[in-house]
Point group: C2
Chain length 161, copies 2
DNA sequence: CCAGCGGTGATACACTGTAACAAACCCGCG
DNA sequence: CGCGGGTTTGTTACAGTGTATCACCGCTGG
C-alpha cells in the first residue's frame, strides 16, 4: 500500500515525470511527441488538477494556438500509458508517477481547499469492495473512488494560523 | 448493509417513489411541485440513468417545452432531499428509494450492458476507507464510489442465450 | 395593499467532449 | 530516391453538460 504524508511528499517533479514518460514510451515503441510532452508538463506543472481547456490555454501563446481537441488526444494517450489520471468528479486531470499494478484500485484524495490531489490505495478497501460486488452478483470492469475533503497541510494551516 | 439480487429486486416503482417523495416533502415543509414531480417520474420511469437533457426532452411536448435549466433546478432539489443520486462518471441521475443514514457511503453498480444502476453499501469498504484516510491525514467531507461492469442478469443472459 | 420570498420561464453563456476531414509527419520498402 | 500506409496534428464544426441572470408569477405575512 502507498503511504502519503502530504501532497508534496510523493509528488514527482515535472522534469522527472517527463523523463520517466520518455523512457516508458521508448520502451513500448510509442512516440513521445512534443505536444504530448507539453501536455504532460502542463498537467504536472501545477499542484492541482487541470481541466483540458486550462491546459490548452496554458500551452497557447500569441501566434501558436493549441486547440482543446489536441489536448484531449494527448491526454487520452497519456491515460492509456498510465501517466495521467482523470478525476471524474472534477472533469480534470492529474499526473501519475506511480507504477500501478493492472487492476489496482486507486483512491483519489481531493483537497477542496488547495485543490491538490493525492493518491492512495488500500487492500482493505479493495478486498471489501470485491466481496461486496461478489455478493451483489456484479462483475466489475472498472471502478472509481474519489474522496473530497481537507488534506493535512490545509487543515493544520487553517487550524493554527 | 443492503442486499441486492438484481436491478429490479430493489427498485421502487415510480408511483411509490412519487408518493414517498410527496410524504417526505410534506413532512419537511417543502414544496413538491408539479415540475419536481414530473422530473422525479422521468428519472424513476426508466431503468437506466437519465441525463438532464434526456429528462428535459422527455418532459417536453409540442407546445410545452421544459428547459434543461428547470430540470437542473428540480434535480438539485431532489438531490438535496436524497430522492435522486447523481452518477458522476455518467453525468446522469437515478432515483433513490432508500433512506440513507447521513454520511453513509453508497456504492453505485453501473451495468455497461443494460445501463441499470444498483446501489450497495458495505461496512467493510467504509471502515477500510476510513482507516486509509486517517493514515493519510485526510479529513473527508464527501466521497463517491462507482463501479462499472456487468450485472448478474446481463451476465447470465449473455452466457446462456 | 404591498413587500418579500420561493419557484418557474427564458435567454444567454461557459465549460466539456467528440466527429470528421485535411494536412503534415514518419518509416519501411521497392 | 520516391512511394504508400500508418500515426499524429490542425481545423472546423457540433453535441452535451452546467451555470448566471433577469423577469415574471403566486403566495404569504404585515
Ligand atoms: Zn496513479
Ligand atoms: Zn489541501
Ligand atoms: Zn440511494
Ligand atoms: Zn445489466
Amino acid at each position: 500500500m502507498h503511504r502519503h504524508e502530504g501532497h508534496d511528499a510523493c509528488r514527482t517533479a515535472a522534469p522527472d515525470m517527463v523523463a520517466r514518460a520518455e523512457a516508458i514510451c521508448r520502451e513500448r515503441g510509442l512516440q513521445f511527441t512534443p505536444l504530448r510532452r507539453e501536455v504532460l508538463e502542463a498537467v504536472a506543472g501545477s499542484g492541482k488538477a487541470q481541466g483540458a481547456y486550462d491546459i490548452a490555454e496554458r500551452l497557447s501563446a500569441p501566434g501558436k494556438r493549441v486547440a482543446p481537441v489536441s489536448v484531449y488526444r494527448a491526454l487520452d494517450f497519456l491515460m492509456e500509458q498510465g501517466l495521467v489520471h482523470r478525476i471524474a468528479s472534477r472533469n480534470a486531470f492529474i499526473p501519475c508517477g506511480h507504477d500501478h499494478a493492472p487492476g489496482e484500485g486507486v483512491i483519489f484524495l481531493i483537497c477542496r481547499t488547495c485543490g491538490g490531489v493525492d493518491e492512495a490505495s488500500s487492500a482493505d478497501v479493495e478486498g471489501g469492495l470485491e466481496r461486496t460486488l461478489e455478493r451483489a452478483g456484479f462483475t466489475p470492469t472498472h471502478s472509481i473512488l474519489e474522496v473530497e475533503g481537507d488534506c493535512g497541510a490545509c487543515r493544520e494551516r487553517d487550524h493554527a494560523p
